[in-house]
């Protein structure tokens, strides 16, 4: 069946499927084969959990400071904000005054939110 640039048949996507199968197959193949033919040497030091070179202590299920999580969330918010800024900066001339106003509104909202979290003491670390 003839296909043009605008009409795609499901069969046109077959190569992608094959690619997926090949990728998955290679991973499974590599894991299974290294597991089977690789040499196994055990020692006490080697079997210990590796924690960035520091000697491991205790259980992993200890409470983590809550501030850490809040800072991480803040990071995500402002990270996403910057992602919006880049395309706007690139198309600054094209978007013109309307784009500028929209960006000002967006930034104002974010800054107000930032003021709120600062006042709430989110960056107090003692």
């Amino acid at each position: 069946m003839e296909t043009t640039a605008t009409t795609h048949l499901p069969s046109d996507y077959l190569p992608i499927l094959i690619q997926f199968a090949a990728a998955l197959g290679f991973v499974i193949f590599a894991i299974v084969v290294t597991h089977l033919i690789g040499p196994k040497r055990h020692s006490k030091v080697k079997d210990a959990a590796w924690e960035c070179g520091v000697e491991s202590v205790g259980n992993a299920r200890t409470p983590v400071s809550y501030k850490y999580f809040m800072t991480a969330i803040l990071f995500v918010i402002f990270d996403v904000e910057v992602i919006f800024l880049y395309p706007w900066a690139v198309n600054f001339r094209g978007l013109g005054m309307e784009g500028f106003i929209q960006m000002i509104v967006f930034m104002t909202m974010l800054m107000l939110g930032f003021y709120y979290v600062i006042k709430k003491g989110i960056l107090k670390w003692e």
Partner: protein, 483 residues
């Protein structure tokens, strides 16, 4: 973006402004009264700007449309949210936790529902749904020291996220087939094909999962009792009304703009869902001892009733849905309002035992609750009766005898557990329960006033429904001109 767009979107912009203002005020100085005042004023102003809009259809391409149906739903949502706010003050004043952010989240949830009911594009739909859902996650778990609030919040979070995924996948499939995400253009595409393509049917099916979850209809109803029980009583009222009503408004807009009523298999799905919801909701409520869970099951059944009118798929059906939504909103607000009024600092008054002999202790509250329960059961002289009658009329009008039969049968089953609660309220108790400490009268004035207004509205609509019917007819004139 035109300036007149801003004029038509003013109710939503006011909500955005109020949420931001509340946030700033909380940052500067926490004061429950001030935040409460701002929230009330914002709702009133939003309703006022809504009244300025005439009922003509105004397009804000590509996302929104402001027509009679949208304005009706916006008004309903804003007023409901106003009543929830009024009921919240006394409820949260008794609790020590930070109360101010509650109003912020409530406004945002209302905003989400407002976006939902005027959207005519999948993107706007999803944005509105997410604003509503994310605000609800935190609202449900707001009283975090309560025993069941975390459970309810987490359950809602996981299930809502899962159902959103279904909804998104359904939208993607619809987009893959039709190449558009706007409702009217999907309608144009559907007109060009003689039969519903399989992929499109799958897409609609997946979307029904997402929509069905928000509506809390069988088989997507499992979350309702747990979430209703765990959430603070005013939030429960909000979920039962605004969240479900917003989704219903969207469903009707989508089906009428895309003209999906003519596909028998889609209608069959909804017929089965409607019958299952009515049966499961009423049967599961029969042996319930917890009032909040009982009302949860009852709301499952009521959404089933609304679906009967929705399935009629004509003008009368939409009128019936509108009328029933108004009646159901008033009734739910009243019922959960009573639960909120009777709750103390430790827990919500959700056991049947809390209501035993209530009439002899607090006659006014018991009278309002009795009226609300009778309306839920559909007894004459209440709004619920006229609403149910309207639904029956729309069902008979389109000869859906099975649905009509199930509706009548279920009304009888439902009567049992509503009467059971009423009987408990009028029972004579030997042991005199100690009166709970009553707040300062001025504090509970907002709640009491709201309850009185709700009770009067209920009776007024039940006795004289003509004015509401005419209002609905007038607003719907610009919507669904195809019928």
């Amino acid at each position: 973006m035109r300036l007149s767009d801003l004029y038509f979107l003013m109710p939503l912009l006011i909500l955005v402004g109020a949420a931001t203002l509340n946030m700033l005020v909380v940052a500067v100085k926490r004061n429950h009264k001030v935040i409460f005042g701002i929230t009330i004023v914002a709702h009133l102003v939003a309703v006022f700007t809504l009244l300025q809009l005439n009922g003509s259809s105004y397009q804000i391409p590509p996302f929104f449309v402001m027509d009679g149906w949208g304005i009706f739903n916006l008004g309903l949502i804003l007023l409901t949210s106003l009543f929830v706010t009024l009921l919240s003050y006394a409820y949260f004043e008794q609790r020590e936790e930070r109360k101010e952010e509650y109003y912020l989240l409530l406004i945002l949830a209302t905003l989400g529902a407002c976006v939902l009911v005027i959207s005519q594009h999948f993107m706007a739909l999803f944005l509105g749904l997410e604003i509503l859902s994310v605000a609800l996650y935190s609202l449900i778990a707001y009283l975090r020291t309560r025993e069941r609030s975390d459970e309810a919040g987490i359950k809602y979070l996981i299930l809502a996220a899962l159902s959103s995924a279904f909804l998104l996948f359904g939208m993607a499939l619809v987009y893959a087939v039709t190449g558009t995400m706007s409702f009217p253009e999907i309608g144009v595409y559907l007109q060009s094909v003689s039969e519903l393509p399989l992929l499109l049917l799958t897409g609609f099916g997946l979307m029904i999962v997402g929509i069905g979850f928000k509506l809390g209809i069988v088989p997507f109803h499992m979350w309702a009792p747990d979430v209703y029980e765990g959430a603070p009583a005013p939030v429960t009222a909000f979920i039962a009304t605004v969240s479900k009503g917003g989704m219903m408004g969207l469903l009707i807009r989508f089906f009428s703009q895309a003209d999906a009523y003519r596909y028998a298999n889609l209608m069959l799905i909804f017929t089965i869902i409607a019958i299952a919801s009515m049966l499961a909701g009423n049967l599961l409520a029969l042996r319930q001892k917890n009032i909040k869970r009982l009302l949860a099951y009852s709301s499952i059944a009521h959404l089933g009733y609304i679906l009967v009118a929705f399935l009629a798929g004509n003008r009368l059906g939409v009128e019936a849905v509108s009328f029933y939504l108004v009646a159901y909103f008033i009734t739910s607000l009243g019922a959960f309002g009573v639960v909120a009024l009777l709750s103390d600092t430790e827990r919500d008054a959700d056991q049947l035992e809390d209501y035993r002999g209530l009439f002899w202790r607090r006659p006014a509250t018991a009278a309002v609750f009795t009226a609300m329960l009778l309306s839920l059961a559909g007894i004459p002289l209440t709004a619920g009766f006229v609403g149910k009658f309207y639904i029956l009329a729309s069902g008979v009008n389109t000869q859906q005898w099975l649905l009509v039969l199930m509706l009548v049968l279920n009304s009888v089953i439902g009567l049992y557990y509503y009467i059971k609660v009423i009987a408990a309220m009028f029972a004579q108790t030997k042991s005199v329960q100690e009166r709970r400490k009553v707040l300062h009268p001025a504090l509970s004035f907002a709640s009491g006033g709201a309850m009185a207004i709700l009770g009067l509205l209920l009776i007024w609509i039940g006795v004289y429904p003509t004015s509401l019917v005419q209002l609905i007819r007038g607003l719907l004139a610009t919507f669904m001109t195809t019928f």
